[in-house]
């Protein structure tokens, strides 16, 4: 069950991390169209950090979570996942 909990944590933390980073960036970045040349692509950086967060959370869940907690986590998935994903998706529509 720990491997399944790790996969679930990977998905959830990736969604949270990506949306969080995007919302954080949106506070300070210049308006779209005002920057004509960038040395780096923020989207790539955001994805790389998202993957790191997701893999870190998966590792923590795999090695750090007791079997019973992993099972409990899987049991609450039907309401936990929409609770995390839907606000994140709506935020990504509202803050492009």
């Amino acid at each position: 069950m720990n491997l399944a909990a790790a996969a679930l944590c990977f998905a959830l933390i990736c969604c949270l991390s990506y949306a969080g980073q995007r919302l954080w960036d949106a506070r300070t970045e210049p308006a779209i169209g005002t920057v004509t040349l960038q040395a780096t692509i923020p989207y790539y950086w955001r994805l790389a950090i998202t993957a790191l967060h997701g893999l870190g959370a998966a590792a923590l869940a795999y090695w750090g979570l007791p079997e019973s907690a992993a099972e409990r986590l899987l049991r609450v998935t039907p309401w936990l996942v929409p609770l995390v994903v839907l606000p994140a998706a709506i935020a990504m529509l509202m803050v492009p």
Binding site: L3, A6, T77, V81, A89, L93, P96
Partner: protein
């Protein structure tokens, strides 16, 4: 990358995503039944692979998009450029959910709890993917009209 190559890969990227979403419908439906078949596992794997390929091809054509398409899109149709950005964000969420769903299915697919968790992940991935695809079609159609 030449503009012709860019538009070729852009179409390939879109077609792979549509194929991936179509295949993803299979595990969503079949996980509603008791038990786990080999076909369900296989279709979940194929869907995740197709969505990953589509995402990877999107990452590959992103720099040419920024150089060839984005400046004109921002200048001529700012709402389309913003919708494109939303599409990229939603695609990342869609892929994370599909990969998580495959992980859950392969490791805990024999238990009803695991199957239910995988189904929820696939269903949300599918819905977010549909939204991503709709935005992609909207932006591509608008971009061609420019």
């Amino acid at each position: 990358m030449s503009p012709a190559e860019f538009f070729l890969f852009e179409r390939l990227h879109g077609h792979l995503a549509v194929l991936g979403l179509a295949v993803l419908a299979h595990p969503i439906l079949s996980l509603g039944r008791p038990g786990l078949s080999r076909g369900t596992r296989l279709s979940a794997l194929i869907a995740a692979a197709l969505l990953s390929l589509s995402f990877a091809s999107g990452l590959w054509i992103y720099p040419p998009y920024r150089a060839l398409v984005k400046p004109e899109l921002v200048r001529e149709a700012l709402p389309l450029a913003l919708r494109f950005e939303s599409k990229e964000h939603l695609a990342a969420i869609c892929l994370a959910l599909a990969l998580g769903g495959v992980g859950v299915l392969l490791s805990a697919g024999r238990h009803p709890t695991g199957r239910r968790a995988a189904r929820v992940l696939f269903l949300l991935s599918f819905l977010v993917g549909l939204l991503t695809g709709a935005l992609g079609v909207f932006v591509a159609a608008g971009g061609q009209a420019l």
